[in-house]
Symmetry: C2
Subunit: 465 residues, 2 copies
């Protein structure tokens, strides 16, 4: 590199000091403003320092006087300089503007093998179909589509979902009974706040079950009470709360569907007691051995809130979820959504509606189902060679629960040491106890096909016996 | 149309009744399931009704017996039928599944002339640039980009904003100090909850000021205390609360920028008392007579939260907002965001980052500024012919406040009668009083150029005198 011996232009301050101003390229007024701003902020121009007259500074810098006057006015308007008619322009007294720069707080430690449950293969995201749908949506968008949206959600998406959920999940609903949210995480928070406002104090959730959602419910002011889970799914006969959050199609994490007798029992409970069933159909699209069992909601549509999202089909990044609610809950749930964040962004809603109505969504789900079915078969072949590990649940979803006599903490440590990310069973229990068998939730969604094969080899090494 | 005299196929039920099943097209098993499901739901197959044996029904319908068996199994798994080995299949006893269909609750009454303040021209949305940016974002997306996001926001967008806000608004920040939200509405809710958690009981807001945000703050558990506004902006000497929400660049609704002396006074207040300034820079990009005055945040970066969004530039439908916060607030604000809805959707964040880094965003803002400047000139020309209406504020933003001796309710009624949507001043006061002059907030953003000309003609007729 060649050194540059010519310093930046220096201006002579009234107090006799030289000030070096780095006049960058671009408009001269903006350049002078930035140079003066920097000089004030880094202290080279201290409080009360007198600046040259506009005439003097213009001469020194070879600028038009109007340029210097405009720059002084701008900085005065911002509060950095003081200009008084007939008096010299001075630097204002300001509190220190020094602000430490903190590094971005993003970076989670990278994992080599992602076997976390419930995350779909991002490499299979239908980018072409999504882009084509976005193009069509933008092409026919009306000006008001970029204005304020509907807290209940775009009618186009609610109509598309009402048809699609009825067709593929047997849900009995209508566009007017669907509320669009920014994902299930927000959905359960909204429902908990509505229940709380209606006087409920408790919400029953499956034990074991999703821990994060217990935290959301608790934050909303409801006490979480456990519903035990056995080989037939949730013990619905033990529900004492006025509302219950369940995963009837594919219990999380055990992977068993709710037994038909229990489905009927649950419907009777809801109608007998006026209780509310919140059905989390988190991966109901993915049944690998038969057509998916229809949603429970159809057995008690006026006592059930059906919850879905794109998180297992297209990916959680989209933050698009939906609720099919009984007529009497449409208004309170919509108002809770409006209070939370006004409404969900519009373009994503219209793009998803376009994917559904053009059947690109169903095609994507079918292809994903075949992919995950193959992977589950590979996983279970591997598990068959590790007799200490017992897989549970029906062929469905994006994960398999295995229980084992081996201590769970040591297992998780071994997996981590092999660069494998997965989940332990213990944290999913309401009250983790030592006497229960430990377990692992092994996902087969999050990777690419190739990455999954590598992950299985790593798992094979990580699992003892 | 030709009439069809052939009814749907009828099956003979064991109890001797005929049941007409509408076997739709498509897979026969699915068709039979749907037909039976419908018959159960509409009551043609009542509780305990015995179904034919699989052999008998297969023969009656000319289907393979396996098809009928599979259909019975599916409906049994869903809880609609009861199948017991050695006994006839019967319809389960279910609570009534009748669910009234409520109409969608979308439709706000259409307005012919949209002069609401603070809404940009949706017909000018840069659809081509947005689509091109989306294409590039999807083309280089990694699989994990469709997985879970960062509660603080995508680093790409935070980095793009840190540069853009510093360049165009003089904001002193870094990617690590920016938090992405789903719009200012959510932003102020998050900040209010953080202040509440830190023991604050009050938040000062401008009087007059945005009413909706007072409601959000109140819901978060803070008492809202007024800061009077005069011709120099907010009377910062009257702040008693530990935190204050202000619009320094362009006071809403009066349209005056905060006087330089008051900016310095505000900075001193923040450092003297440890108070927090929340700067709502809602339309700081739009100054029509000069370069925008820099953000207040630069005078007290360690005591100010700077808030922005795309709502006035690209439109509120995107639900994309951002906060530039002091280092000590990065974690609590990020955690509040995570509790609220986990994180903001990823694709919109990456697309906006692409728009900013390719300068398409700045180009769009410049073009919009010229458009709104022309419209403001037309509006003020019209107002000059209505001496009873006094415009206020500097040439900036997307609206002008006019005050008038005419009673405000009658004016709003006249405007509504002419199909004009705009806002009254009274509702923006903390405590609406009769002795104050009424006023109108007239927006010049929401329409197309052509629509704005028509709206002005309607306004000319609607305004008395």
């Amino acid at each position: 590199m060649s050194e540059d011996w010519s310093g930046p232009p220096a201006i002579r301050l009234p107090q006799g000091l030289d000030l070096h101003l780095e006049l960058g390229p671009g408009p001269r007024q903006a350049g002078l403003e930035d140079a003066l701003r920097t000089a004030v902020r880094d202290g080279r121009l201290g409080a009360d320092a007198r600046l040259p007259s506009t005439r003097a500074l213009a001469r020194q810098l070879g600028l038009a006087r109007g340029t210097v006057t405009a720059a002084y006015d701008q900085l005065a308007a911002e509060g950095l300089l003081l200009t008084r008619p007939g008096a010299a322009t001075t630097v204002a007294r300001l509190p220190s503007a020094a602000t430490p720069v903190t590094p971005a707080t993003d970076t989670a430690p990278p994992v080599r093998h992602d076997l976390r449950p419930g995350i779909p293969d991002g490499s299979a995201f239908p980018a072409r179909a999504w882009l084509a749908a976005t193009r069509r949506v933008l092409a026919r968008a009306r000006p008001e589509d970029f204005g304020h949206g509907d807290p209940q959600g775009r009618y186009e998406l609610r109509a598309a979902l009402a048809g699609q959920l009825g067709r593929t999940r047997g849900v009995l609903t209508s566009p007017g009974q669907i509320v669009i949210t920014s994902g299930f995480y927000q959905s359960i928070g909204l429902l908990a706040s509505v229940l709380r406002a209606r006087g409920a104090a408790e919400l029953a959730t499956e034990d074991p079950g999703h821990r994060t959602y217990r935290e959301v419910v608790t934050r909303a002011g409801l006490r979480v009470v456990p519903v035990p889970v056995d080989e037939h799914g949730a013990r619905v006969d033990s529900i004492t709360a006025p509302a219950v959050l369940l995963t009837p199609s594919h219990q999380y994490p055990t992977g068993v569907p709710l037994h038909p007798d229990r489905r009927r029992e649950l419907a009777s409970w809801a109608h007998r007691t006026g209780g509310l069933v919140i059905e989390d159909d988190y991966d109901g699209e993915f049944r690998h051995d038969r057509r998916p069992v229809g949603a429970f909601q159809a057995l008690a549509p006026d006592r059930t809130v059906y919850c879905g999202s794109t998180s297992k089909t297209l990916g959680p990044a989209l933050r698009l979820g939906w609720l099919a609610v009984p007529p009497d809950l449409v208004r309170p749930v919509t108002e809770a959504k409006e209070r939370a964040d006004f409404y969900t962004e519009t373009l994503g809603q219209l793009t998803l509606a376009e994917l559904i109505t053009t059947h690109a969504y169903d095609r994507h789900v079918r292809a994903a189902r075949l992919r995950y079915r193959r992977r589950r078969t590979l996983l279970h072949q591997l598990l068959s060679t590790h007799p200490d590990f017992t897989p549970h649940g029906v062929p469905a979803g994006l994960h398999t629960l295995v229980t084992t006599p081996h201590p769970e903490p040591a297992l998780l440590a071994r997996c981590a040491a092999h660069g494998i990310a997965l989940r332990g069973l213990t944290e999913l229990h309401h009250t983790p106890a030592q006497d229960r068998p430990g377990g692992l939730l092994i996902g087969f969604g999050a990777t690419t096909d190739h990455g999954f094969a590598r992950a299985l080899r790593a798992l094979d090494e990580a699992l003892p016996g």
